[in-house]
């Protein structure tokens, strides 16, 4: 695995192309440029290893969520919000094969060799265009020559949606319509689905109503039956919506990506139910080999080298790593951990192995590896000068060495 620089004289043109042709509408975050000056190249062997690990993790995750869905007592340590716990009782007849299951597992190269996994983005993983268009684009701007290919995540996800949705059907892309960062993800997918002849509706979570377990749009000028829902609004935000209009999501028969069953693995407290799962015959051995030891906050007292993570954190927010946060932010997180220990977990810190860039720089990498319906579906990576990969990190297209082109 190595970083390949984008040609210095072409970088500005590359950044512009990424913005205009690759749906990268948030190229700056505070003082940080979020378009990396590199691409990440995996060897064919690394790709095969990652693909195998990703699919193995995915098998365990899907088996676990199916089990948890019918065994609410075992799910109790997940500390799901009360409002959600009441609704998930209605998911008893959830049939995974009728929906589209999309996840992204975040891998990190570690100092002792091999990989650590920091989490699975089980509910609403993003990075769609970065995983589909940036690899194709960056090849034209790289320093030096090489043969590279990539998996087109967008094609794989679109195929999966097409397989389960009636031809020409109406698909609502549910997101927070106030956020352009959400819209960029949905717009990419919407354009791909439109090319396949679907009627795409960009809407918010409260633009859906459910009758007889079927979804209907109430969006002005776009009313009527909906054939599929692709949701980018996190489930825990949805259940905070007022007035309460989200109950129907949990037992709808309308094709969903993702179905709310995704919440079991989305909470970072997921590892706290593994012992119980394994006692019931659900193996979590691949997860155990890759995820650092994870315990309740109270059980980390006196243990060295543990960090605190929020149960529903996103893009590295509120992860307490002293040297990666400012002191003020670090103390603020610790205060919140003390106040709400059940909203956090403690995890043994892994030591990320930075990769060399140009002129002596070193960068930490988070390599997101997608699955769609259990099959590996491509990569999305981010790069950071600090071990915590957060909103300041830069998007990094992922290529695989060996040949030219792309795969579905």
């Amino acid at each position: 695995m190595k970083l390949i620089p984008v040609r210095k004289d072409l970088y500005e043109e590359y950044r512009l192309t990424v913005m205009f042709d690759c749906y990268k509408w948030d190229p700056q975050f505070l003082d940080h440029n979020t378009v990396a000056r590199y691409a990440l190249a995996l060897t064919q062997e690394e790709h095969e290893e990652l693909m195998g690990l990703t699919e193995a993790l995915d098998r365990e995750t899907r088996a676990a969520e199916l089990f948890l869905n019918t065994h609410p007592k075992i799910a109790r340590p997940l500390e799901l919000p009360g409002s959600m716990r009441r609704e998930i009782r209605s998911m008893g007849d959830y049939e995974p094969d009728k929906h589209i299951r999309l996840m992204r597992y975040d891998f990190h190269p570690v100092e002792e060799g091999g990989w650590a996994v920091s989490e699975v983005n089980s509910d609403v993983p993003g990075g769609f265009a970065e995983a589909s268009l940036m690899p194709e684009t960056v090849v034209r701007f790289l320093d030096g020559e090489g043969n590279y290919w990539y998996k087109d995540f967008g094609d794989i996800l679109t195929d999966a949606i097409q397989e389960k949705t009636a031809a020409g059907g109406r698909i609502m892309l549910v997101h927070c319509t106030c956020y352009s960062d959400d819209r960029q993800v949905m717009q990419f997918l919407g354009d791909r689905l439109s090319e396949r002849g679907f009627h795409v509706i960009y809407g918010a979570a409260d633009h859906l109503r459910f009758r007889d377990r079927q979804a209907y749009s109430i969006l002005d000028g776009n009313e009527g039956k909906i054939d599929a829902i692709v949701r980018f609004t996190p489930l825990e935000w949805l259940t905070e919506m007022k007035p309460k209009r989200w109950q129907g999501y949990f037992d709808t028969l309308t094709v969903s990506c993702n179905h709310p069953a995704a919440i079991y693995a989305q909470t970072k407290r997921f590892p706290l139910v593994w012992d119980a799962l394994e006692k019931n015959g659900v193996s979590m051995s691949v997860w155990r080999a890759l995820l650092p030891e994870t315990v309740e906050v109270k059980d980390a007292a006196g243990k060295e080298d543990f960090i605190f993570k929020p149960a529903y954190g996103r893009v590295g927010e509120k992860i307490a790593i002293r040297e990666a946060c400012g002191e003020e932010e670090y103390q603020k997180i610790l205060k919140d951990v003390r106040r709400h220990p059940k909203r956090y977990l403690a995890q043994k810190r892994f030591h990320s192995r930075p990769l060399p860039g140009g002129s002596g720089e070193k960068f930490h990498i988070c390599l997101g590896s997608y699955t769609v319906n259990g099959k590996h579906a491509g990569y999305y990576a981010r790069l950071s000068e600090t071990p915590r990969i957060d909103s300041n990190a830069a998007d990094l297209p992922v290529l695989i060495e060996g040949r030219n082109g792309h795969d579905r």
């Binding site: 913005m19 205009f20 190229p27 319509t177 106030c178 009313e223």
Partner: protein
């Protein structure tokens, strides 16, 4: 002119402050309806810029295309206009909470005029935003809510401003809106002075009170 061509004019490669130009209205320009074209795109003179504006970054917070016109006026007065509009277009057929298309159209129209203005490399920044952006009122739930806020990450940090010699921020607008108040309170804590200048008025110093926790979250 395409959105990309216009973006190159508003954010010339390598120029200071232009990394913060948000691409959203430029990228989506092709999908805007011609009905949003502003036939009376008249640029006023920013003759109010005087010694009060020394070492100041400006945030223009005026309604719709007026903010774009003020940006061009400030460019003529020596500022680097930096559009940070971040609102999206509504789903076709739906009524929207905010008209984000007029601003997009105005940015494209104004690009030709901006191209004729020579802006110095050390120009101070004037960030342009639409004061109608936070219109979150929805007559009913069926409306498309494309209102938007400015967040701290949409602007340079206070430290960056200070490093670049900026000691005050002047908001040109009727008031300091709730989203800007949260950001500017953080700046104030770092000893940057905050001013409000009503259109064509003299900037008046504002001491911002700590926003409510709910507002910050």
């Amino acid at each position: 002119m395409t959105g990309k061509e216009a973006y190159r004019i508003w954010a010339p490669a390598g120029a200071r402050w232009t990394d913060w130009v948000r691409p959203v209205p430029f990228v989506t320009a092709g999908s805007f309806s011609g009905a949003y074209c502003d036939p009376d795109f008249h640029v006023p003179a920013a003759d109010y810029v005087d010694e009060h504006y020394e070492d100041a970054a400006v945030i223009v917070d005026l309604p719709g295309a007026e903010s774009v016109r003020e940006g061009i006026a400030l460019a003529k007065a020596g500022y680097r206009p930096v559009p940070i509009y971040n609102g999206t277009a509504e789903q076709p057929g739906a009524r929207a909470a905010v008209d984000n298309q007029t601003v997009g159209t105005a940015l494209i129209m104004a690009a030709e005029e901006l191209e004729q203005i020579r802006i110095r490399e050390d120009a101070l920044p004037a960030f342009l935003t639409d004061s109608s952006r936070m219109n979150q009122f929805r007559m009913d739930a069926s409306l498309f809510d494309n209102s938007w806020d400015v967040y701290a990450q949409d602007l340079p940090s206070a430290d960056y401003f200070i490093k670049n010699g900026i000691r005050k921020v002047i908001v040109v607008g009727e008031k300091i809106s709730a989203d800007l108040r949260i950001i500017l309170y953080g700046f104030q804590k770092k000893k940057i002075k905050i001013f409000l200048a009503k259109p064509c008025g003299i900037p008046k110093r504002k001491i911002l009170r700590r926003p409510f926790r709910q507002e910050i979250e």
